[in-house]
Symmetry: C2
Subunit: 205 residues, 2 copies
């Protein structure tokens, strides 16, 4: 039986490229594509692919969130993360959210096929660099932030002072300061500069 494949990626050229690449494969049935999380969920109302190839960085809903939602609503669908980033935390988040594997965009066709076939038969597959990233203890985990902390973080990054943030959120400036302290603890950063840098690289901004 053919593997029914669906792909979610905001880069149309990547979609067309992969489609063209897999067209000659007889055991893969191309079901279609979406360029964002919302259309993907809409598609799944009426169709059930075996495997979804999912970019993790997309405008709007991230692949990480999308993966979680799809897995809750449709536990039978296998998901493969497809990304340019080999950051440990991203790979981990996808696996935690139920993905069957993770393939980097600098992998080759063979690796992609291997991952799809593994997913199809309920096995998991990590591309070399992704597995490497997981093994790397230097690469710190991304901290888990609360909703409020994320709000404060973004306002800090926008250049506001504690007082301005306080006015903006209708809370006391000392509360903002507490959130700031907790953010720095979670990021293990010495000062804002380091924190904003880490937050940016971690995809929070």
């Amino acid at each position: 039986m053919k593997t029914r494949l669906f792909i979610v990626d905001d880069h149309y050229l990547v979609i067309e490229g992969i489609r063209s690449l897999l067209q000659q494969e007889d055991d893969i049935e191309w079901m279609g594509h979406a360029t964002n999380g919302e259309s993907c969920l809409a598609f799944l109302q009426n169709h059930e692919p075996d495997v979804i190839l999912m970019d993790i960085s997309m405008p709007g809903m991230s692949g990480i969130d999308l993966c979680k939602m799809v897995k809750i609503k449709f536990p039978g669908i296998r998901i493969l993360g497809l990304s340019t980033f080999d950051q440990k935390s991203f790979v981990e988040k996808m696996i935690e959210n139920g993905a069957s594997g993770y393939v980097l965009k600098n992998a080759g066709k063979e690796e992609l096929l291997k991952a799809i076939m593994a997913a199809k038969s309920f096995k998991s597959y990590l591309s070399f660099d992704a597995a490497q990233a997981l093994r790397n203890p230097n690469d710190k985990e991304l901290p888990v932030l609360t909703r409020r902390e994320k709000e404060v973080l973004e306002l800090i990054a926008s250049g506001m002072t504690n007082q301005e943030i306080a006015d903006n959120l209708f809370i006391s400036s000392t509360t903002v300061d507490t959130h700031r302290k907790n953010l720095m603890l979670k990021f293990e950063a010495k000062n804002v500069a380091a924190m904003i840098n880490l937050a940016g690289k971690g995809g929070f901004l």
Copy 2:
């Protein structure tokens, strides 16, 4: 006569995808690919393609720098920027450095072909979003930083205080402060947090 095409991109899947996509096109001759700037320059020692498709974000030499170098050494080669970023400053930099056009990865096959054909006949082509970006006055230009300013910027982002940076670079802390002031002026940022955020998004970190 066929258009001899070469591609530079650090994502192998993108290369294979585009190759597969353009394989059926009779008027395009696929010359090969490189996954970084250095290999591209090495290839050009012995070969001369008509058009190079060039990713702008690559490990090591950026597409922007590579474009400049290729254009100096081989003015006859036309270069097309190929990227996920539709930031005004990136598009501008590529055009300034002699690129014939700029195509976003969320463009379709048709657009890519149009751009290649335009470049082939010494015309220029911008994909819709790239042209849109150029017209957008909100999107600020990236500041031009001196070598020293870049050094200081990175040390600030790493979490060092002015005194620590001073010790690191063997200069006075007041000098570091001056660089800091100039950096903030150039980024038009109110404080470090905003500056690091902008610097990160602008690709300086």
